[in-house]
């Protein structure tokens, strides 16, 4: 089975080398005339106003957190799905409870407005 991952490793090296070669080729072949105006930050043709920061929006962090929670749930569901043929009623009930608890969590988030306004 380790051979499989050797293939993945080799592919990862190649998958990294290929775009790098393309970018390096582009770097070699392209003209290089750096110009203070060209390398300045793009802002629809006007000068940059103020520092480059973005207003903190808790929404982004919340979405990331909800994603994490459901991701962990999914991770647990996959091995259970593999073993599903051999499970008894007890196992089915346990899994259903698991999914229902998380569904309730989603519903809670919905009611409390965490899913609003992107």
């Amino acid at each position: 089975m380790l051979n499989n991952y050797a293939f993945v490793l080799i592919l990862s090296v190649l998958a990294f080398v290929l775009p790098t070669t393309a970018v390096v080729l582009g770097w070699i072949l392209g003209p290089k005339r750096p110009d203070p105006i060209k390398v300045s930050t793009y802002e629809s043709g006007v000068e940059t106003i103020g520092d480059t920061w973005v207003q903190f929006k808790a929404q982004y962090y919340l979405i990331g957190l909800i994603f994490l929670i459901f991701d962990v749930e999914v991770i647990f569901l996959f091995p259970i799905a593999l073993a599903y043929q051999q499970l008894t009623l007890f196992g089915v009930v346990a899994t259903v409870t698991f999914v229902v608890i998380l569904l309730m969590g989603l519903f809670l988030e919905w009611r409390k407005g965490a899913l609003e306004w992107q």
């Binding site: 089975m1 380790l2 991952y5 050797a6 993945v8 490793l9 520092d51 480059t52 920061w53 973005v54 903190f56 929006k57 808790a58 929404q59 982004y60 962090y61 919340l62 990331g64 957190l65 909800i66 994603f67 994490l68 929670i69 991701d71 962990v72 749930e73 991770i75 647990f76 996959f78 091995p79 259970i80 799905a81 593999l82 073993a83 599903y84 051999q86 499970l87 007890f90 196992g91 346990a94 899994t95 409870t97 698991f98 608890i101 998380l102 309730m104 969590g105 809670l108 988030e109 409390k112 965490a114």
Partner: protein, 179 residues
């Protein structure tokens, strides 16, 4: 002559392929961890952490724990690194996050970490770890067995974990609403 030399200075044996791969992955992980600790730019710290996570996933794969390896990438690199990066990016003023790496306690910190390292080495070397059971099913069957264990023997921790996730959701809501 070569015999005398090789007796005086015993060379390590040429590593086999798994050993070589392990050395490579371990180097990657350690370098990543070093970047986390040393790089002045806060975002580079996060990137180093991602590298270290990949390294850990590689080590899991090398130990034939493929489900763990994939979960590691999925959860740590996918979700947790994104959260950490969000936290870094959304904190104003960290754009030019260059903090001084040294403060007054550098010497104490160095001594304590060396002590910790030596202690861990000693303890890990002397604990009688149980050997791997040879009768575990291989390949896919082991993941199926894991799933089965989730809902039979370890069902209570499993459901507790679902409740824990629910609590985490509610807690996140509380925190976000206070802003």
């Amino acid at each position: 002559m070569m015999d005398i030399l090789s007796q005086l200075f015993p060379l390590p044996p040429i590593p086999t392929v798994p050993q070589a791969v392990f050395i490579l992955i371990a180097l990657v992980t350690v370098v990543g961890a070093l970047i986390v600790a040393i790089a002045p730019n806060l975002y580079h710290n996060a990137l180093g952490l991602i590298v270290a996570f990949f390294g850990a996933a590689g080590i899991y794969a090398l130990l034939e724990a493929e489900f763990l390896a994939v979960s590691q990438v999925l959860i740590y690199v996918g979700a947790i690194s994104t959260l950490i990066t969000f936290a870094i990016m959304l904190t104003r003023g960290m754009m030019f996050g260059r903090t001084s790496r040294n403060n007054k306690q550098v010497l104490t910190a160095a001594i304590m970490s060396c002590l910790l390292f030596v202690t861990l080495w000693g303890v890990i070397g002397h604990v009688p770890w149980p050997s791997v059971f040879a009768d575990l099913p291989n390949g896919e069957a082991i993941i199926a067995k894991l799933g089965e264990l989730f809902v039979t023997t370890y069902m209570i921790p499993f459901e507790m974990m679902a409740l824990l996730l629910l609590v985490a959701l509610a807690g996140a809501l509380m925190l976000a609403r206070d802003k």
